[in-house]
């Protein structure tokens, strides 16, 4: 006798799953699509600015020189200063401060300004959906919590989870087809989806939860909450001098030879409390970085403890890499791309199931078709507009997306709208590749830019193929109807 779930539980879970899916479907789709793109952000930034100097290493002496030069130009510079060091996977150095953000040449001199508006726009869409940032981050976090609800209700709504574990019936009715796609992708991807939901919810919820923690346990002091979770900053009182970045980097090589430093930040520059953080990767660890702290003379003060401190501290600093797949090299990045795409399909097929269960068909079908297939068109279209005319990335994306939804509504035909938008998306993606190659010529055909262009070209061709396939289907359906 097989174990089975009570029918009433299954039925109520199906209702619950439907309601949560409908509540979040459209926004979840946008977050998932942008998240899938953002996984490759390091490559996209290099693609968007392919003319920046790339090199694998920066010596401590050169890093020190970069900071000293900045200090010479702006002696009273304040705030935090971030120096990103080149690495094998991200071979660029940059300097970000109140004075601006720019890349560095191999000799440490100032290079081009950092300007990857389109990639930043995609990241912003994923993090806060282009809403006012704090509110948007909370909305995205709520989507993370709702995704947890969807995963749980989905598992309880699926009494045949074992019987159908490997079943895929693409030749049945549309509803069965969409249900099978939805269930197979979501069940086998559930562990990944749960991790993405929990880590995704963290970013916005942390702000709200810190307020609760502060008021309940720390007399309303937010800084103490951050200190408890992430480690308190060192309390220094020094006669202000220029930070000795070189000495700190040399000292790090002695205290932690296994660490692979990839950024240096100067906190509260030009104040008696100023200190340095050197962020370093540790092989085989999910933590974003271990933070080694130094005073202005480059004397080692201690580390934050993300590698070997309290378990909670290690866990909290693993959220970023776990969410975006920035660990384990290209194979993991590729798998995150595949799973991200699968989650997009899960969102779409879920709403498709609901639409095919309805007895009526109205503008909602058109809007959904426009949103689903207009999003790739809007992503490619916005990149084209940014590259071609330097238009604002956010406005370009939403303009193209709204136009695609309007087009689907005007066409008022599921298959026709879908095929047209697929063809449009494919054309725009291929156009983007052509424009990039024309604009950057040799630079577009090397390293990261080449890899991205090849992937874009392949995606464009796939979209065109899907569009032509949908068109053939539309014609096949229309022919007997006309006859």
């Amino acid at each position: 006798m097989k174990p089975s779930l009570p029918t009433s539980l299954v039925k109520s879970s199906v209702n619950s799953h439907s309601w949560l899916g409908l509540l979040t479907g459209a926004l979840m789709y946008l977050v998932c699509v942008s998240g899938t793109v953002v996984v490759f952000t390091d490559y996209l930034e290099r693609w968007e600015q392919p003319d920046v100097a790339e090199f694998q290493q920066m010596t401590p002496a050169l890093a020190g020189q970069v900071y000293s030069q900045l200090h010479e130009v702006v002696p009273d510079i304040g705030g935090d200063i971030l120096l990103m060091l080149p690495q094998s996977g991200a071979p660029r150095a940059s300097l970000i401060s109140a004075e601006g953000a720019w890349y560095l040449n191999e000799d440490g001199s100032r290079g081009d300004d950092i300007s990857h508006d389109w990639t930043t726009m995609m990241a912003d869409m994923h993090v806060y959906l282009h809403l006012p940032s704090s509110f948007g981050m909370i909305v995205v976090s709520i989507l993370g919590a709702m995704l947890c609800g969807l995963i749980i209700s989905g598992l309880f709504a699926h009494p045949n989870i074992i019987r159908d574990a490997f079943n895929l019936r693409l030749r049945g009715s549309r509803r069965l087809q969409q249900t099978d796609i939805h269930n197979r992708l979501s069940v086998w991807g559930a562990p990944f989806h749960l991790v993405i939901a929990v880590t995704g919810a963290y970013f916005g919820l942390a702000v709200l939860m810190n307020m609760i923690f502060a008021s309940a346990f720390f007399d309303g002091d937010n800084e103490r909450v951050i200190g408890e979770i992430f480690g308190a900053p060192p309390a220094l009182q020094q006669d202000v001098a220029v930070m000795d970045v070189e000495a700190a980097l040399n000292e790090l090589a002695v205290v932690a030879p296994e660490a692979n430093p990839f950024y240096v930040t100067v906190e509260d520059a030009n104040t008696p409390q100023q200190y340095m953080i050197i962020g370093a990767e540790h092989e085989g660890r999910l933590i974003y970085a271990e933070q080694y702290r130094f005073d202005q003379a480059g004397q080692y003060l201690g580390k934050a403890g993300y590698t070997d401190g309290a378990l909670g501290r290690q866990a909290i600093f693993s959220v970023f890499r776990l969410h975006f797949g920035h660990f384990g090299g290209l194979s993991v990045l590729f798998l995150y791309g595949v799973f991200g795409l699968a989650l997009c399909v899960v969102c779409v097929s879920g709403i498709n199931i609901w639409l095919s269960r309805r007895k009526t068909r109205d503008a909602l079908n058109n809007i959904w078709t426009g949103l689903v297939w207009g999003t790739p068109a809007a992503i490619a279209g916005s990149a084209l507009l940014v590259l071609l005319a330097g238009l604002p990335a956010v406005a370009s994306l939403w303009l193209v997306l709204v136009a695609c939804i309007a087009l689907a509504q005007v066409l008022n035909n599921d298959a026709g709208g879908k095929s047209m938008l697929q063809l449009l998306s494919g054309g725009l993606v291929l156009g983007l590749v052509v424009l990039h190659v024309l604009k950057y010529q040799q630079l577009a055909l090397r390293d990261a830019a080449l890899a991205v262009n090849v992937c874009f070209a392949a995606s464009g061709l796939i979209l065109l193929w899907l569009g032509l396939r949908s068109k053939r289907k539309t014609n096949a359906v229309a022919a007997p109807a006309n006859a």
Partner: protein, 212 residues
Amino acid sequence: MASAELMAPATLMASSALMAFLALALNVAGVGLLYWSWRHQSGVGVVHAPTGWGFLLLSAWAWMLASGAEFGVVQVFLFSGVIAWLLVLLNYRLQAQSRQLRGKGTGRSRDSDLPTTAGTATLHLPHAKAFARQLWLFIVVVPLAGAASALFTTVLVQLLPWQQGDKLVFTLYAVPVVWGIASWWACAAPRSYWPPLSFMLALIVSFLFLYG
């Protein structure tokens, strides 16, 4: 001595790559055996399922040896999912072939049974009563369940015998899951007063515990 030092990382990389290959092979065998047992649910298939799970455990161990404990755990879940999806596709092809051999053709897609064009392209908005019901459910699922989950989880986790930092981090990770469970319950019983009443009670008790 110098050449030995140079050789060490290369040897390490080679052994790590070999272990990753072994882990992948075990992973394929594990999910493959689960598929085999699913295809043959009586007879030998019954034995294959536990063996498949055993192989998956072994592959997790091999992934951990290849890439460390943290990466290894993530990799076994990622690769298992992808292998399972590939087997789903394989199963689809096999079923199509077997249908053809039985002379039933490949089956015809029934996309045509769908209306592709709407008679009208207007948007049917819900009635005021239905809208109010959905709005109420939204309030229960999002702000009410969210606030109750946040406070209740904070209180529950405080009962654990851990240091404060660990408790706070665990709360941050647990809140979305608890909120997800609460929203599932609220939506599963949309007409019942139990979910909103329970959330209110949890909210008040937790509030008193934290601030009272």
